[in-house]
Symmetry: C2
Subunit: 342 residues, 2 copies
């Protein structure tokens, strides 16, 4: 392994100069830079992670993480928070601190405000589960332009200057749900879809993948109706009950969003447990319980922990070690969970 010291020796300059060249800090005569660059190429130099890591501490880095309220009806984000916490703990040793802020799904102004707040606190990088709204997109563009790297998590805004996205490929996840439903259900499957909202991209993407795959490959499955529960359990109970009452032919449910317990309660309420094959998302504790009780037949998870942890890893690599993410999209695995492998 070649070190900076070695490069310095070979090119007849000091380590400081090599460092300046390597990190484009300027203040180097072009010819000198040229010479050093040449040596770097020649010996195929690659910086040592260990050395850089040790030196990070002096920078006293601070990252911000904005996500959705952990007290919302969707406990999914609790697992994300565990991922954040794990990484924050780990990075503490390097003098890195992580500031977490909670937004709500319906308030882009709040997101902008939280971003400003974190910027004022002097963060060196931001991870965010953004609402795809123009004012949020603009704000992200702005801070990216100011040199603060942004990583989106769980939900994405393309072309907002962010360096990477960590989260599910929702379309593919919808396709997987369709494939799974085809395997599990029979020749004459009539499915009802319960979604959170048509405006939330991840929900509509899942439905698009689900629908497209059915239309393309599974003529045995027929989508009977779609209802909206606004991610709310009480509402979910009502709309699900209504749907099943109006369409007694439905024998499968595709639960796209939160409000899973409410929907399942409706099924139970109508005495349809076991009669209706239910596929849902995520492995929050309440959902796992329903799987163990044979109410939900399969649930599709999306590495929640990773969605909290990975963005921070990417940011640390970027600002601490000057390593750019090796790709733009870090798709989480689409994990099919049944009772036995929960």
């Amino acid at each position: 392994m070649v070190t900076i010291k070695e490069i310095a020796r070979l090119s007849g300059v000091s380590r400081g100069t090599v460092d300046r060249v390597l990190n484009n800090r300027g203040s180097v005569k072009p010819e000198t830079a040229e010479k050093v660059m040449q040596v770097i190429k020649d010996v195929n130099y690659s910086p040592s992670r260990a050395g850089k890591t040790l030196a990070i501490k002096k920078k006293q880095l601070k990252f911000g993480f904005i996500l959705f309220s952990s007290t919302s009806s969707n406990p999914f984000f609790l697992d994300v928070v565990r991922g954040i916490q794990a990484r924050a703990d780990f990075m503490k040793e390097y003098g890195v601190t992580v500031e977490t802020r909670y937004a709500t799904l319906d308030n882009p102004q709040l997101q902008v405000q939280l971003i400003d707040e974190l910027i004022n606190q002097g963060i060196n990088g931001l991870a965010i589960t953004p609402i795809n709204h123009p004012i949020v997109a603009e704000k992200l563009k702005e801070i990216a332009k100011n040199g603060i790297p942004v990583v989106t998590s769980n939900s994405d805004i393309p072309n907002c200057g962010r360096i990477a996205y960590v989260g599910s490929d929702y379309y593919k996840s919808g396709e997987t749900a369709a494939g799974l439903m085809n395997l599990i259900c029979g020749q004459d499957t009539k499915v009802g879809i319960i979604t959170g909202s048509h405006w939330i991209l991840c929900h509509s993407e899942r439905i698009a993948g689900f629908t497209d795959n059915i239309n393309k490959n599974y003529p045995n499955i027929q989508i009977i109706d779609t209802a909206i529960n606004n991610d709310d359990d009480a509402e979910s109970f009502i709309v699900t009950r209504k749907m099943l009452t109006e369409h007694p032919e439905i024998n499968a449910l595709y639960l796209v969003a939160a409000g899973i317990q409410g929907a399942c309660r409706a099924v139970d309420d109508l005495g349809l447990r076991g009669k209706i094959k239910i596929i849902s998302y995520d492995t929050t504790e309440p959902t796992c319980k329903l799987v163990r009780e044979n109410v939900i037949i399969a649930t599709i998870a999306q590495q929640a922990f990773t969605q909290g942890a990975k963005p921070l890893d990417i940011l640390l690599d970027y600002v601490g070690l000057n390593i750019k993410p090796e790709k733009e999209y870090f798709y989480t695995k689409i994990e099919i969970k049944i009772k036995e492998n929960l």
Copy 2:
């Protein structure tokens, strides 16, 4: 964060002494050690990973990894090797080298010989996919006693002095296959099992989990017959064909081991594609192809990459950073893969 220097200052000794106390290197007067220990407790000292990591280089560590021939009929190990390679590359920077050796499934003497060879080369830790044979177990006990940590991967020998096992929970994986088969197949499922051998623990464990779960929970599934293919495709073709001919009532196959292509070829040969629901293991390229072609309906993966990478991580933590594994069993995820989430 408290450093060794700080501990030294607080307890009025030198850093060297603190280091000796921290790492039980001896040569410290009991009273001095006592005093230092007290300070360490008081300030809740925890060593810095970064610092230790940087210092690893001086040790010029070398690890050995013994697994099964990558040219065997089971390409599963190719993915394991990718995991090894990735970690070996990464650790190169720390001056750590990894020596890989290939054994065969049926030759415990060879394993012992390879272990000796690596020991003679001066390895500081060993990862191994052991054959569960007394002479291998004895050899592992011996080197563990000599202070060389051993991590088993993919296959395990309990109580051989190894510090951890990385790999599948085969019993649970068999249970999952049963659960999956119940979901996918109908009321009257008659399954044929094709296994590699009754002597290979992971095969028999999978079958035990599968059978137990069926007996306990799924009376609709009936196991008709079990055949052995010795992990060989040609043999697999023959025994599968024979089984399906003798038992035309079979409508599902549980492929426990390698020889997947051979079994599928037999199904095709009899014109039964689509008629027989096939569940297999792993996501080697040939198997993925069969899933995409709707021959195999689902396959269960076991994080092959991790089985190569994680043992090396554990060894480096152990001998390089003096961090003991936080648990004994690192079970890989039981991943259900269908066409859409392959």
